[in-house]
Symmetry: C2
Subunit: 373 residues, 2 copies
């Protein structure tokens, strides 16, 4: 289902293609995040126009709202949110361990309190896969335990046992090789935890890849550790993952983080940064980041990014967008969110092209030169 | 510039066409309201797709933010907000008399305190026309005094003198007949005040039409009076306005208010109801109003309105939209706002067609039968 098409001959950056039940996903790929079955502030049409081939949604959030019953009646998540391309769903491990005010890890699963209404829930690896079956996600993620930085070696070791046990139980529910149709066209990825301890990351890679998944996610990164450590752990972990499987760096990141990870051989990304920052007026451009609320833009009639062809840049000026933020008008955050996911998609698309032409390193350097000016 | 094309032979409803510097406006026409140079929550593309041929913006708000300087540098409002079709701008009379916390009517104009930052301003009839010249609105409105219901006869009489004086001074700034290009292609309407006193309305019509404007607005309606009185005053005033000029009922209203006014010979409407209610989850449909936040819609997979072909109805279900409101996602209020302005545009377009075919009365009855079921 994943085919590695080309490796840039000057390094480790890769271009490939993933075939899901809903189409082709060219890698490297950035997935906009639609936690609650909507990419915040954007319509499906806008996300499609940005070029996104796959989006990310979150099983934990959707389990709480609208819940299993409605998603089942809707005929799955694609129908519910009217998105015809690929969807990956996160299991909610990260959310349970960051949002839920009370939680208790037990052998069978994790007991937690909903961050919305305080109701008690018990989530097991089996239950979250079953729920992702109902969602019909193209790529499912198993339940895992996601720790925050900093954390002691012994805690990470203990936690890895849980994550491995849950991964085994999740893997048992899938039968490979997958058939041409039906629910087994849903893929399942394995998640590599291990904190900032290289030897524990190595152990996790051995254990998880031993189970045989459709792809591998590097989890527990960008959970509070310094940028240097993010890069180190990513580089190390990506370097020991199997070559022929897709590699996904969870929850990362800024344009610079992505370029750095691509050069370490990572294929897939998701991050809330383009939409979250967009809602605050921060735009990513080929010449760096702009805070469009700021006064210098009040009479700046250029588009957000003169090199961008998105709907926002084709039609609206920085001055107008600043006015929209200044007057608290929704269109402002819509336009910057839209521009930002287009910018991310273009950055990743340009990276792919550069890899195919064996010039990723030069492309990255040139991008950084302009971006950090 | 306005051509009355047809009168329904069973009543007073009219169909016509207004030619502005930015295109044709078929009447009856509904203008979505973009107070601060944006139709709340919607993009220009969406408003265009709704069929809107003219929108409404507000000179008072734009005078305060972003202000004259920026709008001048932008080359006017059409450029600033990237809207290529017609724009009417209200003078801000209504806003000064409803939003500004402190105001004092003087002979020359009105002194008021900004509702945003408390700064003091002095607005004159000349100044607001000058500002609307900078905006480049296709239709400008003169400064008027807008009173709230209830108000004594003597106060209305006194106020009419001010409004008439200001209308005269505004009219002097325009030279008619208008040339084929340049700033005089901007039209100016006269505003009829007079509260709920028919004889004062009559006096206002005589005085204001005596000055000769491009069209006439019925102002000071829907300012707190009971629905019955709104209809009475509209009927009376529309009935004594000149036949060959466009008639605009300011700030009205619900679908029922519009149909009622159309049958009294009103041509033009603006109202915040479709977008304001849309942001609260209230949808207008051919079978009445729906509050989409309500529980009965949680597993209702029909579109908002099965008779509607808008983007929201083509792609999304009531259940999904309810989920979006439930989770406070912006797309929810976007979709209902969009649907509502499409619904209004279709209602007004269907009315026009019915008038052209001399069946407006039957159309209205049939609409009401379904709508009020």
């Amino acid at each position: 289902m994943f085919k590695l098409l080309h490796k840039d001959n000057s390094g480790k950056a890769r271009a490939g293609i993933l075939i899901t039940a809903h189409g082709e996903v060219h890698t490297p790929c950035f997935m906009p995040v639609g936690t609650q079955a909507t990419i915040k502030a954007l319509s499906g049409r806008e996300v499609k126009e940005s070029g996104a081939e796959m989006i990310m949604a979150n099983a934990y959030h959707l389990y709480l709202r609208p819940g299993e019953d409605i998603l089942k009646k809707a005929g799955g998540l694609h129908n519910f949110m009217s998105w015809g391309r690929s969807i990956m769903t996160d299991s909610g491990g990260y959310q349970i361990f960051s949002l839920a005010p009370l939680r208790k890890v037990k052998k069978d699963g994790v007991e937690f309190t909903s961050h919305i209404d305080g109701s008690r829930h018990f989530m097991t690896p089996e239950k979250i896969i079953e729920f992702q079956r109902i969602l019909g996600s193209d790529i499912m993620m198993p339940l895992d335990e996601c720790l925050h930085y900093p954390v002691s070696r012994s805690t990470v070791e203990e936690s890895l046992k849980t994550t491995f046990d849950w991964a085994k139980r999740s893997r048992k529910l899938l039968c490979y090789p997958c058939g041409p149709s039906g629910s087994d066209r849903q893929m399942l990825f394995g998640i590599i935890q291990g904190g900032t301890y290289p030897d524990l990351r190595k152990r996790a890679v051995e254990e998880i890849t031993g189970l045989g998944f459709d792809g591998y996610a590097i989890g527990g990164v960008a959970v509070g550790e310094p940028v240097g450590l993010i890069h180190e752990i990513t580089e190390y972990t990506a370097g020991i993952l199997p070559e022929n499987k897709i590699r996904y760096l969870m929850g990362v990141g800024t344009p610079l983080d992505m370029l750095s990870a691509i050069s370490e051989g990572v294929d897939l990304f998701d991050c809330v940064v383009p939409t979250r920052n967009g809602r605050n007026g921060q735009a990513f451009t080929s010449e760096g980041e702009l805070q469009l609320r700021n006064a210098p833009f009040k009479a700046d009639f250029r588009p957000i990014d003169e090199k961008c062809g998105c709907y926002a840049c084709r039609n609206y000026s920085r001055a107008y967008i600043r006015h929209l933020f200044n007057t608290e008008e929704i269109l402002g955050l819509r336009l910057v969110s839209l521009h930002n996911i287009c910018f991310y998609d273009k950055l990743i698309g340009d990276s792919r092209k550069a890899i195919e032409e064996n010039r990723f390193d030069g492309f990255k350097k040139e991008f950084l030169r302009r971006y950090e000016k």
